[in-house]
Subunit: 701 residues, 2 copies
């Protein structure tokens, strides 16, 4: 295995723990990352690190300046064209993986640029390809050449999750052969639209299409917003920036109100439905709902991107907190626990079991998710490839595959973004006061991950799609004795009778396979319970809508989350066996799997008792003591595991988490170089109080 | 009950739910707040609301400008002198409560000002009173008159929690009768010191006192930092601002490095120990450790303040998310769940069980904590009063009282700050995308509460003091058959045999008293388990230090947290009975108690199975279904409960949580008034691309 392209780590205080690992961290890195793709990322990072435009400002600029810098970085990033030269000629799947890899590289260090590109170019061009026709080809080209910058205008002030009910209208006027775009009131103003606030020139707009007073549902239109030569908005619209956000202020999220704003008929994206010049609505699909489905399918790519980013943010968070914990010392065992005059007899805080228990499960999550997202990306791209190359997808059973992928992503995005949220917070707290420094970056990571839990499908709403799918499989199983699970993620349900009859036995060996079998019991049990609850609620006369809302909390919700965890662990476990992993790495990879599985199960233990799978303390002891043993087993290796997961310092970008471990030297540099940090404030005279005594002057005593 | 001084709420979309409450929200408010103190707060808020200096900036200023504004606000706030005119003449306890109330009022809306005052004036003057003597009286006066601004320099770069081992030295030089303050290296630089970065003129410094080469441990000194006439630092020190933080950037947290910096001998705070001019160290206590104890006891007041702030931040968070949930509509039950053209047939999201379950427990926490902190403040002030007026505290058994108060606060501060953290995050997510707006304020609340979990005692370290105290009680109980619990918080342990023999019975009535009895079982069980584990680890040869570190995760940690929850619920429950509450309010107050108790217990259910208190699904069903029933029961009242808890709009300061419920009107104002939001950016020409097509011009098609 060629690891020579991976740079050595600088020597320093982390050597103490690095020397304890019994494996080569570079080899482990190449389990987590495919070499070809890692090389692409390293190239992106090395290039940006040398570019003055991509240096981090020492003081947070105003939000206006952040928007300016992001816009300039966006253009520069596009100019670099980081795709390998031959990528354009590669087959769809490999080409797309390269594109996703480049995005991954930029997203982890310049998330605003990634979002600007994703919304401004990728989503627009993808949608033109999916929903547009040859008459939109020139727009496609203009977007690729950055001559136009787009945005995606779907969400409205009063409608987020319930996208189907957005109220912006596009009414066809056959006299002028134009669509008249209109916003009935402020509540129907498009809002939160990234790039719309200041910079986009066109919008990809979703509006209710009307012909002759009849509504045909949501359709996509290309709507000019600003004159690309002046960046001034066109007459007939009120467009602006929604203002400061918790983070991602480099993105100009905007709102727009259309006042009977006219666009040419041809700006309707007409692959699946069109309006003739005379005003006849013609659909190539039988149902408007399916048109929408095709249009919104593009969002899955966005969700995959979010998962990718969340894993990388999670990795950054644990890199910071683990390296800090390996260097930071506090207290010692000298009889009173107070340490010995602050010298190095104090223990690195990573030595404390509580600290291990707080952080190691997130390191395990990072490892498991990193592998899982690679598998999921492969499955996803394979499915997309099949869908786009098949002429009659439904007939070939691809509908089942698409539905399953959708169910998986709907569980994965919440799982990843919530885990990332928790890992960042725990890391922030585990770094103590220093974790509250902006230069520690944990605050920024939190602000960046934060919108991910509610956008591109609010986690709490999105995850219901997973349980809905699982319940459909359960119904099919009971009615037809099969499940429609081409990826086999829930085929085990067919054995539900056997699974549900299992009981915990205290003398079992708790390895990964056993953990997976515990998950299978949990999922089967929770599907049954959800189904039962649904039946009960329906029998009580509740509507299907009401029943579904009333089985979320303790049944469908946990079901989806647990299914997500199960998939992550299963894919990780399968992949490290599939890819012919170095045997030397297997023990640590297995410990990570067990840590992920047990610490996740620790939150769900109660179901095993509710479902009579276990009774008494044995299962609990088994899981909890297992976790503590794994803390101990992982400790000598954890710094090197993090080395294998971590991107370079330029990317992690934290004063607390640098690879050389020279924590206090970097803090000193940070304090001393803080611009203006040691100078008197310009407003000093405003706060001087008359007659203040000067205590330095001893005579005043 | 006179409620006339409480303003009516504006009418609007929240009326729908307000009309459903079967109680008078103003009367409920006066259960949560004592009228005299509420009036003080209302006066603070009304005054600040009219003062231009206290208007929120439309755009976040630079951190430097934030520091300037905070400094000016601090002086203005002091000038207002919000204490009632007669407060100075009141007995200690009532006077202090007024002072705490004023602090509470400023902290909830201008936390930086509160911190600046607490560190700059309160802590300094309190410490001078506790540790200083008459020779420091002029400093006390100068601080009260704002002629000097102080800071508290304890933490060092490499020492936070382990304060006893800070390394800054103060070496007495008898030749000049001065102390020589010295920082051995950067790791011993004082840092994170609020007010030190730019504005303070003196520091209250903790350093290791040396005479004739002998170390006498930590002592407090007043150390001049800046010339009060010029705000320039004195020679011999390197002082600066540590730079940007995640929040609270109005505070100038600083670092300082002393280079054999000399201060007069008299600047040692010498109440408990002194150095004679000739260099003899004289202590009035027998052990240096106790001197430190007295010095650091002042920190308890800080922790009480943090608890108070956390409750108020929690209240703000749920005010925002509950009001939003009562107005925001999404989806409806029209057969497909998609709503009906976006009109008002969609359901307010508060109608969804999942949404109730996500938020209502935090409303219950807010109510319970609000009452609990009032009780705790009374207990605390009573204890302080007793301690300061008794001449021989120890002989009177006050040591036990102080120890118990310390144990309670050590559990309460983590409980409150962590609950607040979780409530803010859940509220942020429950407000969807709009929750990510800066003007929603949830991001700011998160950034403000965030440092509270690690400062004034890192939660994970601090909470160990609670379990240590509980274990001491357990030991005393086993050895002497009693517990030293003057406040009776763990007297029930004496019945441990009876308590541990209890079992769950399915036909029990789950009322608050029963919930409290479940807590007593839990605490007793976990003390036993912790003690057993400790014995086991000691028997295996582990040191006491090691054993203590190795029983935290699943035993001592949960024990302390559960004890904190128990106290909160017990005090709440007792107080609403003690204060002669309007019978009309009792049902809702009881439901809030049950909701708090059950939703807290829901996280600890597994212990009941581990300890064989229960088996099978009954207890689980009982708790979980109980929570869902309470969601349903609380729903008609929850908006009015929040009205009773919430401070005025000026304080909540959220575009999403205003009392009139006119969500979309406020959003519109926010969007339209966002400075520069609708104008072209000044840097527009920098991002124009040559040859961009103008799609508005139809001829280009």
């Amino acid at each position: 295995m060629d690891t020579s392209f991976i740079e050595d780590l600088p020597r320093g205080p982390l050597d103490h723990y690095r020397s304890q690992a019994n494996f080569d961290w570079k080899k482990l890195k190449l389990v987590f990352e495919e070499p070809d793709f890692l090389k692409v990322k390293l190239n992106v990072w090395r290039t940006l690190e040398k570019d003055p435009l991509f240096q981090r400002p020492a003081i947070t600029p105003t939000t206006d300046e952040q928007k300016r810098i992001t816009a300039l970085q966006f253009h520069q990033y596009c100019k670099y064209n980081f795709l390998p030269p031959d990528a354009q000629n590669l087959p769809y799947k490999r080409k797309t993986k390269y594109m996703m890899t480049v995005n991954e590289a930029i997203a982890v260090c310049f998330p605003d640029v990634s979002v600007k590109y994703a919304i401004g170019v990728s989503l627009f061009t993808n949608t033109l390809q999916t929903l547009g026709t040859e008459r939109h080809q020139h727009m496609f080209q203009a977007a690729w050449n950055r001559q136009i910058l787009s945005c995606l205008a779907l969400t409205e002030v009063a409608h987020g999750s319930n996208t189907k009910q957005v109220r912006t209208t596009a009414t066809y006027d056959k006299n002028t052969q134009e669509f008249v775009i209109h916003t009935p009131d402020f509540e129907a103003a498009k809002c939160w639209v990234g790039n719309l606030g200041k910079t986009c020139t066109v919008a990809l707009l979703f509006a209710q299409l009307y012909t002759d007073g009849q509504c045909h549902g949501l359709h996509a239109f290309v709507v000019p917003i600003r004159n690309p030569k002046t960046l001034l908005p066109y007459p007939g619209i009120v467009v602006g920036d929604i203002g400061e956000k918790v983070g991602l202020n480099g993105i100009d999220n905007g709102f727009v109100i259309f006042n009977n704003y006219r666009i040419p008929r041809e700006y309707l994206l007409n692959r699946t439905a069109d309006v003739t010049p005379e005003g006849d609505y013609e659909s190539s699909f039988s149902e408007p709902g399916k048109i929408l489905g095709a249009a919104l399918e593009n969002l899955s790519t966005g969700r995959m991107g979010i998962c990718q980013e969340s894993v990388n943010n999670l990795i950054c968070a644990v890199t910071i907190s683990i390296r800090y914990a390996a260097v930071r010392r506090q207290f010692s065992d000298n009889g009173n626990g107070n340490g010995n005059g602050g010298d190095n007899h104090e223990l690195p805080i990573i030595e404390y079991q509580l600290h291990q228990w707080r952080l190691f499960p997130y390191v395990a999550s990072a490892a498991v998710f990193k592998m899982f997202i690679t598998c999921l990306t492969d499955d996803y791209l394979t499915a997309v490839e099949k869908t786009t190359t098949s002429t009659s997808a439904r007939l070939n059973g691809l509908g089942d595959l698409v539905a399953e992928i959708h169910a998986i992503i709907s569980a994965t995005k919440p799982l990843f973004t919530w885990s990332c949220r928790d890992a960042i917070q725990e890391s922030r707290e585990a770094c103590g006061g220093h974790g509250y420094l902006k230069s520690a970056r944990l605050g920024d990571l939190r602000n960046i991950n934060d919108p991910c839990v509610t956008y591109e499908g609010d986690n709490n709403v999105l995850i219901q799609q997973t349980s809905n799918w699982l319940l459909r499989q359960w119904l099919t199983l009971k009615q037809e004795g099969k499940v429609n699970s081409p990826l086999n993620t829930c085929t085990f349900l067919k054995e539900y009778r056997v699974i549900l009859s299992r009981k915990f036995s205290a003398n079992v060996t708790v390895n990964v396979d056993y953990i997976l079998s515990l998950y299978e019991w949990l999922i089967t049990y929770l599907i049954c319970e959800t189904d039962k609850k649904q039946q009960k609620l329906l029998d009580e006369g509740q509507s299907k809508f009401a029943a579904r809302n009333n089985f979320q909390v303790y049944r469908a919700g946990p079901l989806s989350r647990i299914y997500g965890e199960y998939l992550a662990l299963r894919h990780y476990w399968k992949r490290i066996h599939d890819v012919n992993t170095d045997q030397n790495l297997m023990p640590v990879l297995e410990n990570l799997a067990s840590m992920y599985g047990l610490s996740s199960l620790d939150k769900h233990l109660i179901y095993f008792y509710q479902g009579n799978f276990a009774s008494g303390p044995d299962l609990i002891t088994c899981i909890k003591e297992g976790i503590l043993k794994l803390c101990c087993a992982l400790k000598p290796h954890i710094v090197s595991i993090v080395d294998a997961l971590a991107p370079p310092d330029f990317v992690v970008n934290s004063v607390l988490g640098k690879a050389d471990g020279k924590l206090y030297q970097h803090l000193q540099t940070e304090f001393f170089q803080n611009p203006g940090g040691m100078s008197r404030p310009s407003w000093w005279h405003e706060i001087i109080i008359e007659g203040a005594p000067d205590f330095k002057c001893k005579s005043k005593l």
